[in-house]
């Protein structure tokens, strides 16, 4: 079953075309990696899919299952099952992680006609998740990302991913700025999310993370286009030869 279906998508920022026609189909159970140098348009693609302001869709379509993503508001896309792990997660001072996640979970549940989750069950699950990602449980009482280190922020994104259980996860450079231990922890979280029902798009410019999370497909993005697709071996080839190899 196709979870994410992107057809000939063109995206501009401030009148300048950044994404120049992209096709991408993510089937249930698959992991796709999108690799590319800085400025190739990777974050533009993920942010625009999630509905970030300031991106103009000029052409093409993007569906999550049968839903037309481009017609939905940001929160409707989230409720349809789209999750974006941010490259630079922002701080929400004073808004505790528990409060934030409970509100998000309940919003999703309500959208699906379910009652709010019981606080006891929710806290139980959340504490386990936090432990799994080697975070201090105290972090739950603190403001969202407030005073978090870079590594804590990234791991906190994975906590949210596992807690909200979306259908498709777009992970935007979730590996950047992590030491090897944190990288393994994050990889463990991603693998836990992986299931025959979910799809994952990993955006990265190193192949480091891919050593821990085996992708089914690797796509190379250059100047707003996916110029080459292959299996995991493409990432290794890329690592050895560099992006310049594909630029001609």
């Amino acid at each position: 079953m196709t979870l994410l279906d992107i057809v000939d998508l063109h995206i501009s920022v401030e009148e300048r075309e950044i994404i120049k026609g992209i096709d991408l189909q993510v089937e249930a159970g698959e992991i796709h990696a999108i690799m590319g140098p800085n400025g190739s348009g990777k974050s533009t693609l993920t942010n625009a899919l999630a509905g970030q302001e300031g991106y103009q869709i000029n052409h093409g379509s993007a569906h999550l299952e049968d839903k037309d993503l481009l017609e939905l508001s940001v929160e409707e896309r989230a409720r349809a099952g789209l999750f974006l792990a941010f490259q630079y997660p922002v701080e929400l001072p004073g808004v505790s992680n528990v409060e934030f996640l409970k509100t998000a979970v309940d919003s999703l549940r309500r959208a699906n006609g379910l009652d709010d989750i019981s606080t006891v069950n929710f806290m139980k699950e959340l504490r386990q998740l936090v432990k799994k990602l080697d975070l201090d449980p105290e972090i739950l009482k603190r403001g969202v990302n407030e005073g978090f280190s870079g590594g804590e922020r990234k791991r906190n994104e994975i906590v949210q991913l596992l807690c909200l259980k979306p259908r498709v996860a777009l992970l935007d450079e979730t590996d950047s700025g992590l030491d090897i231990d944190a990288l393994q922890t994050v990889a463990r979280g991603i693998k836990e999310f992986r299931s025959p029902r979910t799809g994952i798009v990993l955006v990265t410019h190193y192949q480091r993370l891919l050593e821990f999370v085996q992708p089914d497909y690797v796509h190379v993005m250059l100047d707003g286009r996916l110029v080459r697709s292959g299996d995991a071996s493409l990432a290794l080839e890329l690592e050895a030869k560099g992006y310049a190899w594909l630029e001609n």
């Binding site: 509905g51 302001e53 989230a78 929400l92 004073g94």
Partner: protein
């Protein structure tokens, strides 16, 4: 193809005022206008003793000589003091007990969620495990009812309307009235001293910890009427009291004046905690109508180790001019001011505090959170003064502004005056906004824009909400949500 953009926080903001209904009862009021005759008439209507009548008349003459303050960062048309009625009350004999109160009025308080029936309140205790709150309900110019008087009397606590105190506790009243806020203190305190109608009086005897929260609920109902209440709270040595104040008014197109005076006195080792949730009608989205709120609130830490704490959540009023202050006279006394002020649409607020350190080792803390949205203007104005005798005095001030949208304004005017070498004053201020990135994060996690804004604003105010009594904190938080929620364009 059109990309659906996330909604901007300012689009999410819209005032929906839920307390804006009018109670249909017959009111008798004095015709608009102010003169010595009117002042004497108010005193007569309230059957006051001569000393109080003369006190009022004296205040009226002082007021005539004074000028309206213009230094605040506020813009509003001149107030015509002759167009206001200075006294209004429900028609008929004043009720002697709750059973005699007009059912319409009882319903009003019920609608506002203010419990006046002790039985119901007590029944509620079992279900909700909340402690009961004693309420003095002030409707226009008069106190309608005061609950739990008997329970309180058993502990020696006096909690009654101001009018009743004039009758039954004249000595206490004469001893303390106008001692913290003198008649001449400012234009509005002088006006209030001349025409004040009712309010609450509290006395906590030596060593008594007041067994329940005390609360006054002010309701302006009549049109073209000003409300001028006066509250006096005296905490005798070693006593403790927590006091809550709430206020609402109907939605009306004209502006209405509210000029209250609150005086607090804490003797040795006494503690007074005064919390306000001010939700006067703020006017509509075009800036029509709303309450002009010119209030003088001051506490005197008269005794050693006494403690006065102000917490205010200000979401209402078209104009707010309010500086709950503490005079730290007793050695080791403590003054606190925690404030959340939210302005939206065309609301204007100029609010803050004054901490005057006189005694040794006195300490004050100021935490102010200002939120401006729409086309509103929100100013913090503060004064911290270290007098030459204030050995080892300390102040810490944190003053933060949150801007929502590009058309609002936020200002900070903190005056620091230090005449004492070994005192320390620290002041910090920041200004931030609800950023698009924060909104995007919340919405990406499936949260509505309305909910996202109110969550971020609540997070911003957390330090202040922590200081409110439990039930009040929830009310305040809900109130912010209401002020931030509603008609999304």
């Amino acid at each position: 193809m059109k990309l659906q953009e996330p909604r901007k926080p300012e689009e999410v903001l819209a005032q929906e005022y839920t307390a804006g209904f009018v109670t249909n009862i017959e009111t008798e009021s004095l015709p608009p206008g102010l003169s010595e005759e009117v002042v004497r008439k108010i005193s007569e209507l309230k059957s006051e003793p001569e000393w109080l009548t003369e006190w009022r008349v004296d205040a009226f003459h002082k007021w005539l000589e004074m000028e309206e303050p213009k230094w605040a960062h506020l813009e509003y048309p001149a107030i015509d003091f002759q167009k206001i009625s200075y006294f209004a009350r429900p028609k008929g004999e004043p009720p002697k007990s709750l059973d005699e109160v007009d059912p319409e009025i009882l319903q009003t308080y019920e609608k506002l969620g203010i419990p006046l029936h002790e039985q119901k309140m007590l029944a509620g205790v079992v279900e909700t495990e909340t402690t009961p709150v004693a309420v003095d309900a002030v409707f226009d110019s008069v106190s309608i009812a005061t609950t739990f008087k008997n329970t309180l009397r058993e502990h020696g606590v006096i909690f009654c309307s101001f009018s009743e105190a004039v009758e039954s506790h004249p000595d206490l009243l004469r001893q303390y009235l106008g001692k913290v806020v003198p008649i001449r203190d400012n234009f509005y305190s002088a006006l209030n001293s001349a025409v004040f109608s009712d309010g609450s009086f509290v006395y906590i005897p030596k060593g008594v910890r007041c067994p329940m929260e005390l609360s006054t609920y002010f309701r302006i109902n009549a049109a073209n009427t000003g409300q001028f209440e006066r509250t006096l709270i005296i905490a005798d040595e070693g006593s403790h009291v927590s006091y809550l104040e709430g206020c609402t008014a109907p939605m009306r197109d004209e502006n209405q004046l509210h000029a209250a005076v609150v005086e607090l006195i804490a003797l040795d080792d006494a503690e007074i905690k005064y919390s306000t949730v001010q939700n006067w009608y703020p006017g509509d989205e075009h800036g029509r109508g709303g309450i002009y709120n010119f209030v003088t609130k001051r506490g005197m830490c008269r005794g050693a180790r006494s403690h006065i704490s102000w917490t205010q959540v200000e979401t209402g009023s078209a104009i707010t001019w309010k500086y709950p202050s503490v005079i730290l006279r007793g050695d080791h006394s403590v003054g606190e001011f925690y404030s959340v002020a939210l302005t939206n649409n065309h609301q204007q607020a100029d609010t803050g505090t004054k901490m005057t350190h006189i005694g040794n080792n006195t300490k004050s803390t100021i935490i102010s959170k200002g939120i401006s949205a729409g086309k509103s203007s929100n100013a913090y104005r503060g004064l911290v003064r270290m007098n030459p005798g204030a050995r080892n005095a300390r102040n810490f001030t944190q003053c933060d502004s949150l801007l929502i949208g590009s058309e609002c304004a936020a200002h900070t005017f903190p005056y620091i005056e230090s005449k004492r070498r070994d005192s320390i004053v620290e002041h910090e201020a920041t200004a931030t906004r609800v950023s698009e990135d924060q909104m995007f994060l919340c919405q990406q996690r499936g949260i509505d824009p309305e909910k996202a804004v109110s969550m971020i604003v609540n997070g911003f105010c957390k330090e202040v909400f922590r200081t409110l009594p439990m039930e009040f904190a929830m009310e305040a938080s809900k109130l912010l949500e209401v002020s931030l929620e509603g008609a999304v364009g």
